[in-house]
Subunit: 367 residues, 4 copies
């Protein structure tokens, strides 16, 4: 009674099931949805360790850093892995995937990241899905950085394992995440002797003890606050309209790209074709002679809260990333990032046109 | 059990008293602090109706719209009121107050707004307090827009009634507010036959039933969430350091002023002397030929969330206000406002230097 | 950015208006609803000071302590007041009201508390409303302790001013409250020269600056958290079903009454007829020779959190009150209170039957 | 701006590190503390998979269901496992552990559950720790159901891996948990080729990327709300006093035990010796001829919110569990459970003394 806001009642099974149903509705899926009690890395790892083993031949598309992690996991599971790396300033094409499958006809598992927040590209999952389905392989998609920012239709696109998290475009909690699982994927896991069981990493445990058991007794206590926040976040997206949320992200990306092009000073979009650019984050190529991470540091010195980062690893010299997801998919954030980058470039002696950048971005927002 | 976040337990008397003590600590006061269950208008009205009556002669300093409201209340109470209006682009001086008291030696009540968010000026309460104390009048100060943004020491300055709210520089809730009351002020109210009693507006009720009664039984149920939020807000200010919070506001004001001056295009500080400018909001004079509210509308069209407003009433044509309090007392907000105003001026055909504005503001922040 | 849960954004006018509409829906009213920024005492006082003046003749029904307060306010406003006191162990009848109106035909204002949490009775507002309407007087009802606990239909019942708060049966915040105002009541206030204006107590201010002004600019900053909590609370009642919430309270009252009667030891219902007993709280008469507040102290010594209190003032010797509203309108609370009272009576040497009390209460719950 | 309570800012590294330090303070440990982003099963599994492999010989003490799970994990890791099962109505003794270690001198890992919420016993970790330390084995303790309810001193007691969760006696969130890791345990994991790496289950990843890397960049986004709630929960325990929180749980257990013994009707403590009974939950043996889960169902029919459950699996016929942790470690909950069990027994035709049960429990509370 004395600490009313801190004594947390456990989440009920009905509340938990309701959140799963909200996720299914957002994804427009009739497949099972499993909400996992951890960051989205948990279902990603659970999918690969559940579905892959020594007999698996995997085609692993690499369009950013997460693709590399997936390859590591697949090899650790004993799978034969064919990596399909694609330059980070492009998207993979359905043709490239078809060609790779032709080269490795025994492939029975394809892993792909839908949108890459880290590199700023997005891949044509619908088209690739057709190719994968025709080949008959299981298709896993990491949609953490695309959900709520761009169309995502796992059932229509033949995605067997579609992993999402709420912390990017959904503007929600990072501590719980979800995956939709097709019947085919469940069968693959059930047949995999090395699929985790009796483990925090096990999707099959969850299926046996929850999904197929009438969803009446939770296998373990869920993260109450994160689940409530995920439910609230999904309710908000439904209230705002998922189309409107997606449009807001697409506009933020287009405005950032247009503004950066108008800014001058040598800044250029990193992802060559606009159609390949992700709605959650716009990556920019630093001007020749300018170190990207130094430029970002300069821009953030004045505005420490700006969602600007340099590329990771080797990309730190050349790539600047503007995150514009969730509450940052707004004119204010886009303008602030463009202005800060412009000011930093000016300090480096480059000529920029702050007013033109702002006008170009505004024109996109005002449609 | 089923709705853990919604069944609100009542606040205990001990919790309530603890928040009062936190307020007293922030104000550095040994006087009684009354936390009232309403917006800050409630204690402001309660002070005037409690202390003033037909026998009162009041000097009411007007440096913005709230001063006018105080005059209305004083007259409504039957007091004889001498208004001391001061142009809104200045502060009142202790000399002006001394002169007015000399002209009306029978004055026994002085009301003053410390900082005016609406007009952007701030008044030298410490110096004025000396004058008022020497004269022997009761001194009421509205510190809603100054608390946490600039020094405020009611005991040292001889303030008898010091009203605060949390919704500006404190970044807290608007639904509860507080007033410190000196012994002299209590005596004045007790002797006032028209002071509200048995009323939501009564400070004396609160004194009798709570402050002087051991603070063990609350006169009525308080606003639980707002009280918890006020306590949390005060704890945060203590954790951050009240000095640091004040410095952040002072810097925001200086950066905005410097940036606006560097921007050009005809924009100028509204409050003539920097020393008279309030830390919570910077008011600017629109260039000749530019309508302030049209300029603000233009600036906000691109960034609807910006804390920019035009002056109220007759000031709508000439005054632009940049609010920079609480979470907005940051470089990001200041830069965003300057850039938006610059872009709007450029659209109106004015020549502005966005880069110079940004550089000037940044120089202030980096101190 | 660093304190995400504490930097409170102001409530928007649209959010505020939506909460007003939710209140109107709960009350089934087509009248204006004003949500006031304070505990329910604020709208109660605002109604009386707004509607009453020297020319007013008021019939003030007193069925508990709040009726006395209303009489004080009415007299303070200059009204001629005819009190109609009723023994607290009964309800007033429509006939009694009719008779009083006949005795004072000039009566143009009637004030009534619907349910009295403090004395445990509830009054037949529908029937009384017919009488008052036939007489032509303005009818004000304090429904703070009845809303969500029993039927409440201000429009059908001819209530001109119907005041509610959320802290009892609604299980919501105490810091904001509401009143529905009929056209007739607005006209009465507009014609009253002493109705508060330019005051925290003014309903007319709110009408002029908000209700009739398109609800686009809030007159002052509302209590963000309390308003959000009120909205959430109303949404929950709608989700649970207002009928189900009312039924839960009615059952809690019936179970408490039945359990107390079965307990023995000399305990008896205070309100003689079950039909006059309020659903939010059951009052009991202490056995002869037992001091009620001593018995409550004994019962609470073992379970400090129990919602048991002794009667106020002179009733402290004879009345015990069991509150069972909001989260306490449950079998668990009712059983706990009965068991604690039984144990305390046994300690006083009385013979009680704990098992019979529990069985009687359970039988009511299991319907 | 429009949904202020839903746009969650990411947790900063400094905030995360501060929560780790709060956990270390509660545990009085100088070892590394790792806060993991999942229910306590995650660190438990991570400890076993990190520390155990084909070369490991484990002594696995089984005093309840979790001991069985640990044995499954150990075997799955390839360890040689010697189970030491102990009847669930007792605790294991240090002598039994010493004997088992003598029988299997090659043992280099010992796993033990401190307190078992499911069976209601608690084990003498301090004494067992001495034995294990003397033997030189690594010592892992599951303290999820003991932390904050009874003394827990991993460093003094030679615990190498001490896992806690906040959802029981701490009254906190279930979605994050923690483990203290000794230098010896880190070395064991580093030398284990099968220790998870690049995995959600990996403690070593966390050590490399966070603990040993200056705690400046979080390896992945943490669960913001759960982390804030964990920090708030730890702050509250510190404010209340950890000793007082532990005493509250010990008293709840003693009162429940005394009350059940006084109730009669054939109910008896399940754990034979009071010293072996856990402070978080009291298990009771159903009277002969009464089915425990039927009795619980009957007791809960009247009060659905009561923290009463029947034993799991085969224990469902004979064991009744009264949970009294967190907000339920209060007289109110204890009394309510005793009264509900008494009423259910009476319905089954047993003679019970509700008043004696209440008096016995009250006497313990008023101690």
């Amino acid at each position: 009674m004395t600490h009313p806001l801190l004594d947390l009642a456990p989440l009920s099974p009905a509340q938990f099931a309701a959140v799963e149903d909200q996720v299914a509705k957002l994804l427009g899926t009739a497949q099972d949805v499993v909400v996992m009690q951890g960051e989205a890395l948990l279902p990603l790892e659970a999918c690969i360790r559940g579905a892959a083993g020594p007999g698996t031949t995997a085609l692993n598309v690499i369009t950013g850093p997460y693709g590399r992690t997936f390859g590591d996991w697949l090899r650790d599971c004993g799978a034969t892995v064919h990596d399909l790396p694609v330059p980070f300033h492009t998207a993979v094409t359905a043709d490239q995937v078809a060609e790779a499958l032709q080269a490795h006809p025994e492939t029975d598992f394809v892993s792909l990241v839908h949108a890459e927040a880290a590199t700023g590209n997005t891949n044509p999952v619908a088209e690739i899905g057709e190719v994968v389905r025709a080949h008959g392989a299981l298709f896993m998609v990491d949609a953490v950085a695309s959900v709520a920012a761009e169309p995502l239709l796992p059932d229509d696109w033949g995605v067997d394992l579609c992993v999402i998290g709420a912390q990017k475009a959904m503007g929600g909690p990072a501590g719980v995440s979800a995956v939709s699982v097709s019947e085919r994927a469940w069968r693959r896991m059930a047949a995999n002797p090395r699929a985790p069981r009796h483990s925090y990493l096990s999707l099959l445990d969850w299926k046996d003890r929850w999904t197929d058991a009438g969803r009446t007794v939770l296998p373990h206590a869920p993260a109450q606050l994160e689940m409530l926040a995920l439910g609230a976040c999904l309710a908000r997206i439904e209230a705002d309209g998922a189309d409107a949320v997606r449009a807001r992200h697409a506009t933020a990306a287009a405005a950032t790209r247009a503004g950066a092009e108008a800014l001058g000073g040598g800044l250029a979009p990193y992802v060559v074709r606009a159609v390949d650019a992700a709605p959650v984050a716009t990556t920019l190529r630093a001007p020749a002679g300018v170190h990207a991470s130094a430029l970002v540091a300069r821009a953030r010195a004045a505005d420490p809260g700006l969602p600007l980062v340099a590329g990771g690893g080797a990309l730190a010299t050349e790539m600047i990333r503007v995150n514009h997801y969730g509450a940052d998919a707004t004119p204010g954030t886009v303008h602030a990032c463009l202005a800060a980058l412009g000011a930093a470039l000016a300090e480096e002696g480059r000529t920029v046109d702050l007013a033109a950048a702002r006008a170009a971005a505004t024109a996109v927002w005002q449609g």
